[in-house]
Amino acid sequence: MSVAEIEAPATAESYLEDGYTLRSWLLTTDHKRIAILYMLTITIFFFIGGIAISFVRYNLLEPQGMIRSAETYNRLFSMHGVVMVWFFLVPAVPVTLGNFLLPLMIGARDLAFPRINLLSWYLFVIAGCVLLVALYAGGVDTGWTFYTPLSSLYSKGHVALAAVAVIITGFSSIATGLNFIVSIHRLRAPGMTWYKMPVFLWSLYSTSVIMVLATPVLAMTLLLLTFERIFHVGMFDPTIGGDPLLFQHLFWFYSHPAVYIMILPGMGVVSEIIPAFSSKQLFGYKFVAWCSVAIAVISFLVWGHHMFVTGQSVYSALVFSILSFAVAVPSAIKIFNWLGTMHKGYIRFDSPMLYALGFIGLFTMGGLTGLYVATLAADVHLHDTYFVVAHFHYVMVGGMVSAYFAGLHFWWPKITGRMYPEMWGRAAALIIFVGFNLTFFPQYIVGYLGMPRRYHTYPPEFQVWNVLSSAGAAVLAVGYLLPLLYLTWSLLKGKQASTNPWHATGLEWQTPSPPPTENFETTPTVTEPPYNYLPAEALDRHA
């Protein structure tokens, strides 16, 4: 079957030309093709989630709500949350850029378990279909957090279906993480020591650790929830002495580290782009690399900070609060190291760099407001208000989506062999930055003023901020539609890309764009440290 001979075919035709039938795509085990399949799938989900939230922002234009039914409104924001978290943010960078680049970056021909990789995409698609069935049947109204006993005993939405969808996509995520970890351990090319790996791989490794060790807990939790939902009795049922807070503990044991599933790969992308466009080595390589691991480990120790006002033990709250501050330290270190990389560099402002700088700015703002909600007494006031909404959107959308776009623009020539129109790329980066701040900065203020999350109607004094936010959302929507248009355009009309259009270092830039099916004609031997940028050369190049 998939057992092949050692020597690869000598013809180095690109992976895109390796068969044009639907079957050659749907049954492929090539990590690069699977990355493309994933890219198409998550793009669909990104826009499904986007449409749902457009209705939400539309509703909030008026204090009494533009949408008449509160039930519909609840289902819209719940669907937005479920789709965006599990079907876009969690998979986004790892399964697309990660899948495509990991073997290239370690000098391997594929991942360790190519068929499991394909299986993980199929699981993802099946999960997506189950979710769409749930959506078609009427959706869920519990928010993406599925808190019991609302979700288990009271909700009239299709909680069990949605939970099953999330469980399945969880297994897809576990399969991906498992593949990445084993590949990094076992398939590095000769000479590719741990400290010669690009930081992107360190962050993918850390992300995979979380995927592999946190996701199973979510699966078990949602199975328990489904059991309780079906049989009307279970471990979270307060009427028989079950503890609804147990659900929150288990849920956040996954879902807090999951935030770092979303952000760590983004940090990895930025750690590649900043040195490339500064023509300079990454400042403090070992610190940045180990900070990813530290974030992954500490992220497991902080979940209780979602529960400071839920009736959790005060002692637990104290422990979780101080650990939450601890997890912010490595993030801060990373930001300083990126700035250190820019220092005395030769900085170019191509679109990937603009997105990356946008990431640093927005992520800093998101991270700083994370301190507010990690501070116990401040969280008492801010918990479950729009402040929290703004905070995690700054991290996950301002940070993560910017980083995804940065990476997409950076490696687009490698993936597709085409260049996109640079001016459009820069314009979109700016529009997204402006639109994003217009959308979410007002939410910090309205949150501090007390507006609760997930409100279908609200007191009129909050209207100004909500209208501002909705206006920003319209700008943001334009910003997100633009790349869809010009990147698609580039596939048809874009200029042919050279092997290394950005003059970047790294193994992936030494193989043709797009790469051949077997990635490298002969397995490379690595001798150089990563980010071996020579400023003098850069000077000549731009002279």
Binding site: V182, H185, R186, V209, L213, V217, D243, L245, H249, L250, F253, F300, L301, W303, G304, G311, Q312, S313, V314, Y315, S316, V319, F320
Partner: protein
């Protein structure tokens, strides 16, 4: 340092497996000693289950509860070391196994901290 720890860890597992083999009669090489190692482990596990069952029949004191759990943990460890041969193969096998236990500890430790320290509601002595 890491290498030393790793060496010590896999070494001790190997010793434990070998110890079980040596304790048993039979040839020290070939299939013989591995088979007798497996059989001996199995016998030890059966004895432990026997103890667990016997104690439970006898309506034991509440203080013995942790002991019953510890017996199970010992059996699980024996299964991992002897049946699953955790000492063999690449070192990452051990790394993964240890990581899973560490994360299990985090989950159970930090998770149960809340119920064990929670004051359901306390009235200040007014």
């Amino acid at each position: 340092m890491m290498r030393l720890l790793r060496g010590a860890f896999s070494g001790s597992l190997g010793t434990l497996a070998a110890l079980f083999a040596r304790l048993s009669p039979g040839k020290k090489e070939g299939i013989g000693w591995r088979v007798s190692g497996l059989l001996l482990t199995w016998a030890v596990m059966l004895i432990l289950v026997g103890i667990q069952y016997g104690v439970s029949r006898l309506h034991f004191a509440p203080g013995l509860r942790p002991v019953l759990l510890v017996l199970s943990v010992i059996m699980a460890a024996l299964a991992a070391i002897v049946f699953m041969e955790i000492g063999k193969g690449p070192g990452i096998n051990r790394l993964f196994a240890v990581a899973s236990l560490l994360w299990l500890l985090i989950l159970l430790g930090l998770g149960s901290m809340d119920p064990f320290t929670r004051v359901m509601y306390y009235v200040h002595p007014s």
